[in-house]
Amino acid sequence: MKKLINRPENVVAESLAGLVAAHSDLLTLSQNPLFVAWKDAPVSGKVGIISGGGSGHEPLHVGYVGRGMLDAACPGDVFTSPTPDQIEAATRAVDSGAGVLHVIKNYTGDVMNFELAAELCQAEGIQVETVLVDDDVAVKDSLYTAGRRGVGATVLVEKICGAAAEQGHKLSAVAAIGKEVNQRTRSIGIALTSCTVPAAGKPTFEIGDQEMEFGIGIHGEPGRSRMQIKTARDVVRMMTEEVVRDLPFQSGDSVIALVNGMGGTPLIELYLVFGEMIEVCREKGINVVRPLVGNYITALEMAGCSITLLKADDRLLTLWDAPVHTAGLRWGR
């Protein structure tokens, strides 16, 4: 294992200390229980938005705390969901009285820990609503699975809900928009290498020099299938077609498209992937009106990428375009 760390058990705490030091104009760190909050939260009258999950997906979620996105984020240990006390404390810290939205990626651990926290919060009289993100088409949503994983859509849900809250929508409306974004979004991911959980010390899976994993999540878990590595053109076509077929996206649709790196794939490749993806979309009459290319929801140093499409309309585009100022996403005033 080659990492720029001190001791595996301190990675999360030490990285958060660095993050908050680098963005001291924007962020504060609560130590016990652990969460990162926007300095200006709670904003009077504004719905609070929090999210959380295992660490190792940076900039998600801690990098999305700030104006126009999250009011707080609860980082768990690497790939381990946070605990209810963190979530409860963060919820309390950002509630202005207008209630708090929990954005939860659909993993058994996250769901249960947020559920426990929500029970605690509601007992204290804080209004809590939930958006469950489950956009990964690699997983069948059936009785025989824990449902689809939450992946790339999380970034879009957090950005768009953040803008809606900023515009003064009330909790139920912000939650409804978040659910709508999730319903209109589909993603798929692939990996060329495994990642290494610091405390585990070795790669989560072994993979040959000529192999790739298709349909992976963001935790170094094996994907839906293993196959021979292909050209970017072929890989991206397979990925895009799975995503398009699922919603389905149709000719004439306008989409927000996220080409996301898993952490170890350089930008030169991600832009190449974006170029290939847009070709497939063009063929199908799908119009990419807002592109986002980079490392936005990662799996440590895994090499690979994911593709996320959101079927947009004018309202969602306006919310997307609204100013955002966080460590990981920034535009507008």
């Binding site: 790939f79 969901s81 426990l116 997983v139 824990a146 994983r149 989560t204």
Partner: protein, 212 residues
């Protein structure tokens, strides 16, 4: 031996070492069909329980199990945190008012705990989860309780053996709950990490009982 608070304290303290020794083993199992953290999660949780027991002195089994529950919920995270946390929370309630447990009380304790796991996680038998270790274990405890007066040490030994069988029987199953379910058929052929940690917990209990 008697199932008093001393036994439970000794058992819970022993789990620190148990999960530190089995950390890599559990994590290796979780690498194959999960996210390579189950051993790390269990070690973190039961180290924290151990530390709590250095600082606090719960007076009753009920308080002790509740402290364990809250500590696990606050430190483990992931799926196993709320599940084992809920197990101990319900187990705590089931021992209310008792200062010594008979073998029948163990049935009540385990059944309450498992009920919590199932309520939280909605897993059914055969879904390839920790539930698949608890069910045969509890059946074994019940069988011992039927031959009164059951011997606690022997009962825990039988429970551990049954859990081990349940654990091994998860190997051919296809996961339908938790992270492993994302793998579909690729989850077949691997032993469930949570069923394994359940076996290890019961096995530790049996060993503490045997030596006390």
């Amino acid at each position: 031996m008697k199932l008093t608070i001393d036994f439970f304290i000794a058992w819970l303290r022993s789990l620190r070492q148990c999960f530190s020794e089995n950390r890599d083993y559990l994590t290796r199992l979780d690498s194959a069909i999960g996210d390579a953290d189950h051993g790390i999660n269990m070690e973190r949780g039961f180290s924290a329980v151990y530390e709590q027991l250095e600082k606090q002195s719960p007076k009753t089994v009920e308080e002790l199990l509740k402290l364990t529950a809250m500590t696990l919920i606050r430190t483990v995270g992931g799926a196993s945190g709320p599940l084992y946390g809920t197990f101990f929370l319900r187990a705590s309630a089931a021992t209310s008012g008792k200062s010594e447990l008979a073998v029948e009380d163990l049935v009540t304790l385990f059944e309450a705990g498992l009920g919590g796991i199932i309520q939280r996680g909605k897993a059914e038998p055969g879904d390839k989860t920790m539930v698949d270790a608890w069910i045969p274990a509890i059946a074994a405890v019940k069988a011992c309780a039927a031959q009164s007066p059951g011997d606690p040490a022997e009962t825990l030994q039988k429970a551990a053996e049954a859990a081990e069988t349940g654990m091994r029987n998860t190997i051919p199953l296809q996961a339908r709950k938790g992270r492993a379910s994302y793998l579909g058929e690729r989850s077949v052929g691997h032993q469930d990490p949570g069923a394994t940690s359940t076996f290890l917990m019961l096995d530790a209990a049996a060993r503490v009982a045997e030596n006390s």
